[in-house]
Subunit: 316 residues, 2 copies
Amino acid sequence: MTNIHDIAKMTGYSVSTVSRVLNHKNYVSDEVRAKVQAVIDEMDYVPNDVARDLSRGKTYSIGVVLPYTKHPYFTQILNGIMSEAFERDYRLVVLPSAYDKDKEAEFLEQLRRKAFDALIFTSHGLPLEKIAKYQKYGPIVCCQYPGNVDISAAYSERIDTYVKAFEWVRDHNFERIGILQNRDYHVSATSEMTIKAYQQVFNKMPESDLIVTDVTTYDDGHNAAKYYVKNELDPDYVFCNSDDIAVGFKDYYLENNLKVPEFMGQENQLSSKILNFSTIDHQFEKVGASSFDLAISGDRKQIPIESMLINRSGLV
Amino acid sequence: MTNIHDIAKMTGYSVSTVSRVLNHKNYVSDEVRAKVQAVIDEMDYVPNDVARDLSRGKTYSIGVVLPYTKHPYFTQILNGIMSEAFERDYRLVVLPSAYDKDKEAEFLEQLRRKAFDALIFTSHGLPLEKIAKYQKYGPIVCCQYPGNVDISAAYSERIDTYVKAFEWVRDHNFERIGILQNRDYHVSATSEMTIKAYQQVFNKMPESDLIVTDVTTYDDGHNAAKYYVKNELDPDYVFCNSDDIAVGFKDYYLENNLKVPEFMGQENQLSSKILNFSTIDHQFEKVGASSFDLAISGDRKQIPIESMLINRSGLV
DNA sequence: TTGTATGCGTTATCAG
DNA sequence: CTGATAACGCATACAA
């Protein structure tokens, strides 16, 4: 493995000069530059990135914590991050968490050990307060509304759109509103926001029987419907946490020849396009791009990005 | 920034001893270990990963080249790689290529510069021969059948399943077979394989008018159908390159009140499950997992993984 | 069991 | 414009 010292020796110049040639810096005569470059080419030499990172005290890579990749939320956000990262010649390290707190803690430790320059949490299981404490080791950006915790964030401003959605539901005289969500609203900011929007519009908490948690897949949506039916809960409108989940939900009713309650999806996935039902587009690519910008700038601020209600109900 | 020398100084022991404590190595008395550990804890010290990597000559990270992430092929394969990587405490660096040869070349250079220990090409635009030459700088694994090029590969053994699929089509008396594909068969191994399977079953080349290239999305599928209709090509069976694409294809006919040709999808996505049409599951998670194993073992070998025909036609 | 000294491959500072 | 040398932070062969 030939290194910069070898090149220095072979050219007869010093390592500093070789380094300058390598990094296209000034203060080296054209003549010397040419000679050194010739040897570099001849020896097929390239500098070692790790040594470089160590010397510069920077890795030019950003860690991205992903609970899992199956959900479109994460692929969209990752796409947004990737496109920005690539333009700016940053490396992206994907960190799968499955919402495991130990794993998330491990990633925070890696930031502390300088494995990457900054960390982006696309979502988190750990309390934000704990995550925030690690900011002294490097920029940390989360992709959800951080409440009163002082941490950088780029997030989809869902609340206004959720409110609009529930207003639409209320204005069309639906009363028994079912809500499917990924995680309980005590631990998930998104779920909490959904409940809050509901409260704001209806001036009361949603009926707890009508809230179904741990819904992440088509099959979960299917099971949620089954749960409603078995327990005769009869929602007349259901607010689903993704389009694909909405389809699973709907299918259960169809398979059993039951009338499907009205419903809305989220994510603006292909399935809502195919089956033409309403949904909410959360603009996650933009969220990803902004979170990356925050990560490398190191600015401590929040960037809300408005989501969009896509009404395909045929009614205004 | 406190480092190992500081700890050594504070404890009164040498850096080697501190290092041994850090790495849970032998040859250090319990008493000393406890003392050193106490100071480490007190100072809240953690070693620097970059320095570690440099010293060990290893990064414990693997680069994964992804043309893009929208396609389920890549998310599935990435999931497979991620689950393996995480178990073995490896870091994954995602490298978006968009099939750009310059970018791919850049990633090969990064391998050479020791930015990661190995490289996985989930797909590639560069000729395999060129990629193979970089193996002297570290293990490289590709996720497609490498033909006669001497390079490691874990790949979905699609050919047998494609043959089975076309046999089914032939045995059910379809004759004008349309084929939708991502890239031309001169540059894409997958497309080439599709054509070969067709040839093997029908003893002739598919009609070139019936082959549509550059199809990657729902909309592209939609356009492909439009193309068939406008030019009165009348395929009676269409072999689509993904389920979502198949849906776009079908929708065009429905929207125009035309009879939809029979068709099959690929990827076993949700859409084929919803709409209940046949598809092929390529087992990409397994491919991802195996490619990772190859990457870190450094073995130079090929691992075929059989894909599965999922017949939902109702006919045998 | 512990310490010393050197290597890992660069970049950066400062002197010339 | 060029060079010597000190960081960067850790691991490890060898010595004690």
